[in-house]
Amino acid sequence: MAEAIERFVPDGATVAMGLALEPLIPFAAGHEMTRQRRRDLELVGPISDALFDQLIGAGCVRRVTAAWVGNVSEGLGHCYRRACEHGIPRPLEVHDHSNFSISLALWAAAWNVPSLPTRALLGSDILRTNPGIESKDGLVHVDAVQPDVAIVHVQRADAMGRAHAWGPLGISEEAGLAAKRVIVSCEELVDASVTLSDPNRILLPETKVVGVVHEPGGAHPSPVQGYFRRDHAFYRHYAERSRSVEGFNAWLEEWVMGVSDRSSYMKRIDVDSIRIRHQRLAAPADFGDE
């Protein structure tokens, strides 16, 4: 992960993450950006369930282009509040979206058109605060948002970048297609015979994927269908600690800055309490051709 972030996420980059909404959030990638002290990032996502809040608190972020920033089960994002209200640790620019409009902004980039129209956002003050969304002729036009890099965490991938993800996908597909590059982190690194056995489950074209990182637990504390439940207590703990600057900084030191990599982090998690143990296997599809 360190190498992937080093190579493909420079200071100032526009980074799309948390694209499946609450599940499959690439926390390991975000923590690595923090360790590498990235600056001036623009974060793009629908909601972000604490990851964006952490990067904002760590001072990595210049702008957030998102529909929601906070902690889904706990409420407000304290670092987000401090940045917006008091410029702590640094001021933050916010491009407000709704969930649908951020999806459309990414579809616009994926299809390489300047904007896409929608009936959503009519009558909302989001039209006032986001310079990239305007109302005209009774429709709303959402400007394209093109990430430099989209980062997705998935259940399994092969070394060539073919990623199998399942469960709800949120805006993963449009974000990956819109992005110039995609980094995949995965619970399991598998042989190509596994991924190619089911080309319908391959999330994105391998031509977009520049890095594959085998990072078990890389989405913790968010859930991974078939692998991990959501670690609600961890989110609650983060919400409590991040209420104050001091508390957040101590949390960051304990869980990010003072941790060398994801495998060290996972050793400190009670993995047994969140591991999914009972399989529910999908009925096989037969791709036979002769």
């Binding site: 609450e22 209200e85 709704s98 989001i126 709800p168 996908l169 609600h232 919400a239």
Partner: protein, 260 residues
């Protein structure tokens, strides 16, 4: 007054807004429970739609901290992209949506974005999420909110999710908003309802143990009261049993209504 929390009452009341056969856009927190209760009682053929990219019939078999938790995916009727779920809503196929709010005004407009000047807000709230989409596109919707003077305000500082706008007749249609707008605001003290044609909200029922005066005192404008105002029906035993089955530890129904 039987033994239930304000949140349990709110869930029970919210569940009654779900009609059988409805396609419900289920927001997080209390609406997830409301959906589960409705499916288990009067709305056995309702379906739930989740912006994360899911459709379900049966409520999830386990506790949900978020709509993307694994129990909400297992057995789903459709696991897809958010934009597909939004497509159904944009077509007017979603009968009912739920939206939580930090601030609501007399015309049902919700603010979940900024208190104060957006450029230098006093309070930065998390934002729309799917709220604005639901408010504009679903056929009808309901807000759940803690009944406090600072939350029920004369005029919201920022309209994240438009209700009936400036309250003038036909405001939504005139501005091209697809759905019919908010029909009710369910608070910790009362149920407020909008006239069928939109406009200004009005106290319909007051929760057991509370009074109209208390409701008015805790509202930031001169709130109208229905001539036939009555008491909100308490949760039935069956409703309570369902709530407690889906929130066994009281994560949602035995702590503060708006977390954070």
């Amino acid at each position: 007054m039987s033994d239930f929390t304000p949140q349990e009452l709110m869930v029970a009341v919210a569940s009654r807004e779900i009609h059988d056969g409805d396609l419900v856009f289920v927001g997080m927190r209390l609406p997830v429970l409301a959906y589960a209760v409705a499916r288990n009682s009067h709305a056995p053929t309702a379906r739930g739609l989740f912006e994360v990219g899911l459709m379900r019939d049966q409520p999830a078999g386990g506790f949900l901290g978020t709509m993307g938790d694994p129990p909400n995916v297992a057995g789903a009727l459709w696991a897809t992209r958010m934009s597909n779920v939004m497509a159904l809503m944009a077509q007017g196929e979603v009968d009912l949506g739920f939206i939580g709010g930090a601030e609501v005004d007399r015309f049902g407009n919700l603010n979940t974005s900024y208190v104060g000047d957006p450029r230098r807000p006093t309070v930065k709230l998390p934002g729309s999420g799917g709220g604005a989409d639901i408010a504009i596109l679903s056929r009808r919707w309901v807000t759940l909110i803690s009944h406090e003077r600072r939350r029920l305000v004369e005029k919201v500082a920022f309209i994240t999710s438009p209700g009936h706008g400036d309250g003038s007749p036909g405001w939504r249609k005139r501005n091209g908003l697809l759905g019919g707008g908010p029909v009710a605001v369910i608070t910790t003290l009362a149920v407020l309802r909008f006239p069928e044609e939109g406009g200004e909200v009005c106290v319909a029922t007051v929760h057991p143990g509370h009074t109209v005066d208390e409701v008015l005192e805790n509202t930031g404008w001169d709130l109208k009261v229905s001539r036939d105002v009555s008491e909100t029906s308490a949760p039935t035993e069956a409703e309570l049993a369902a709530i407690r089955r889906f929130d066994p530890d009281g994560f949602w129904t035995r702590s503060s209504v708006t977390k954070g």
